[in-house]
Amino acid sequence: MTEDLVWLGLSEKQKMATYYKDGYFLAELADKTTKHADKTLIISDNGYYYYLTRYLIYPKKIYWVTTDQLATINPLHYSDIIVYPGKNIHGIEKGTYFIKEQFSFQNNKAFSGYLFIKQ
């Protein structure tokens, strides 16, 4: 019960950041990066990030593949690609089509990934 009381003093955003942790920051990043009609791809081996982001930023559309399924997709079909948690995935750049950026949340290297934005 005492643990519960901590939640009372938090704002909506603080609650989401506390509860969803890096999932919330990832959704914020996806929201800021993408425009309404964009098709964003999340590459992650954890469905948590995909489902939470898809929910939080709807009506913007998000698609998902795991790293095992990478060979089945054409990265050029997507306007943005987020790789999280960070793994240096080769083959997405496809020449100079994408600008690649590394990001991390709350200056924590454990919460880092890659963002590919179509030029």
Partner: protein, 447 residues
């Protein structure tokens, strides 16, 4: 405040329908509210779904105005029984103590429900995102269903959209209270059902036991699990209540309300469909046996609600459940049986509910073939058993992760049967003469 208004609207709509049908005359207001909530939700879902098929965009006015007319008709044509609207507090101190305990548990659950952001995976992947999508589209949007590859019926999604519509915004966290109110309604209907059979004090003891069952609290307020299982449990439980009343009284009014509840249960989750079929077959058999051929038409009410959704699945080519595919794998029977039995003894989730349930079953002198509710319970359990023989997933892991949710659908019914079995053993209400009506009811259920 907006959530409270939503709940009041839903209860009012259901209340108007109950009053128009003329069921539950003279019954307490609280009991009517408990049933009104589900009928209101189901009716609004059907209405909003019909609007979508007719390309009518959802708005507060377009949804609420028809019900306003119905409400006016109820107040003009029917004299509301003022006695049934009044509420008197009993003087029995033990009873009041029990009520206080139930009130404390409910308060805790409601408090927990609104503390955190929407926590469950199911909510993000399905219930709440669909509610949001339909709210933005102001319609049931099949293209969204294809986008998220969702095979669930629409009631919960549309309920979430309705809540957002009434509120005028996507209010995610407080909308969770809509789901907690199912818990409150289960407790109320459970208490009044039992009160007529085993007396007020004993009924409140069992209501407290139901209210404190850990898995029920988890689904009613913590929401780290699903959102639709407790609502389905509510609709199935209410169906059983009205089925029993119909079998006892043979009144078409109970049959009608039963058909509403059982029809709506098929719109909550796909597990409602087998329950619907089993129940309707039992009702049909009973009507043919009693030569009540005209009443068979009322089955069309439930059937049309159910077929409405099935028809839409085919028209819009919506996805179907991924769990029911392929042939029955009979070699799984021992593993599935053992894993399911283990869940019944999971005291951490169910307290001693299922142990008491089976003890109550064993203690019965004669397991009568006419005891319809037990039959329904076990047939539904058999359906769940067979799903695990069909599912493409590895069954033991699947049972560990999902069977507690399936059991939740039939938990209120299980509790009711347990309470009926043990009802005679509890201390009878003091200072009260035996109620002959109650004795008849008890005998009809226990024997």
């Amino acid at each position: 405040m907006g959530i409270l208004v939503t709940i009041i609207f839903l209860c009012l709509i259901g209340f108007f329908i109950i009053e128009i049908v003329g069921t539950l005359k003279g019954r307490p207001l609280l009991e009517k509210i408990a049933f009104s909530y589900g009928i209101g939700i189901g009716s609004v879902t059907l209405q909003m779904f019909c609007y979508s098929l007719m390309h009518v965009s959802w708005s507060r006015e377009v949804i609420l105005v028809p019900w306003l007319f119905l409400g006016v008709a109820v107040f003009l044509k029917k004299k509301l029984n003022r006695k049934s609207l009044s509420f008197t507090l009993p003087k029995d101190r033990v009873f009041l103590f029990l009520v206080t305990l139930v009130g404390l548990v409910v308060s805790y659950v409601l408090f927990e429900a609104i503390l955190r952001p929407v926590p469950a995976w199911d909510a993000w992947s399905n219930w709440f995102i669909a509610g949001k999508a339909f709210y933005y589209a102001r319609s049931f949007d099949p293209s969204f269903i294809h986008y998220v590859n969702n095979s669930n019926p629409p009631l919960i999604n549309i309920l979430v959209s309705f809540t957002y519509l009434i509120n005028g915004e996507v209010e995610q966290r407080l909308t969770l209270l809509i789901f907690s109110f199912f818990y409150v309604c289960i407790l109320i209907s459970f208490y009044y059902l039992l009160r007529d059979i085993i007396g007020a004090r004993s009924a409140m003891v069992f209501t407290l036991l139901l209210a404190t069952t850990q898995n029920i609290i988890r689904h009613a307020g913590l929401y780290d699990v699903g959102h639709a299982d407790l609502p389905l449990g509510y609709f199935m439980f209410c169906s059983v209540i009205f089925l029993q009343q119909f079998l006892r009284t043979r009144s078409w009014k109970y049959l009608f309300i039963f058909n509403l509840f059982i029809g709506f249960s098929t719109l909550v989750k796909s597990e409602g469909l087998p329950f619907f079929i089993i129940s309707e077959v039992i009702v049909l058999y009973s009507m043919i046996k009693n030569r009540e051929y005209r009443k068979i038409l009322l089955i069309l009410v439930g059937s049309s609600i159910s077929l409405f959704w099935i028809f839409s699945v085919f028209v819009y080519k919506l996805p179907i459940s991924p769990f029911i595919q392929g042939p029955l794998m009979l070699s799984r029977i021992p593993d599935v049986f053992v894993s399911m039995v283990k869940e019944f003894f999971n005291v951490g989730r169910w307290n001693f509910l299922w142990i008491a349930f089976f003890l109550g079953l064993l203690m019965r002198k004669v397991v009568s073939k006419q005891n319809i509710i037990y039959l329904l319970f076990f047939l539904q359990l058999m359906v769940y058993f067979s799903v695990y023989l069909l599912t493409p997933r590895e069954p033991v892991g699947h049972i560990v992760g999902s069977f507690d949710r399936l059991l939740l659908h039939i938990a209120p019914i299980g509790f009711y049967l347990t309470a009926s079995s043990f009802g005679r053993m509890l201390i009878p209400d003091t200072g009260k003469k035996k109620n002959p009506k109650r004795e008849v009811l008890l005998n009809s259920i226990v024997n």
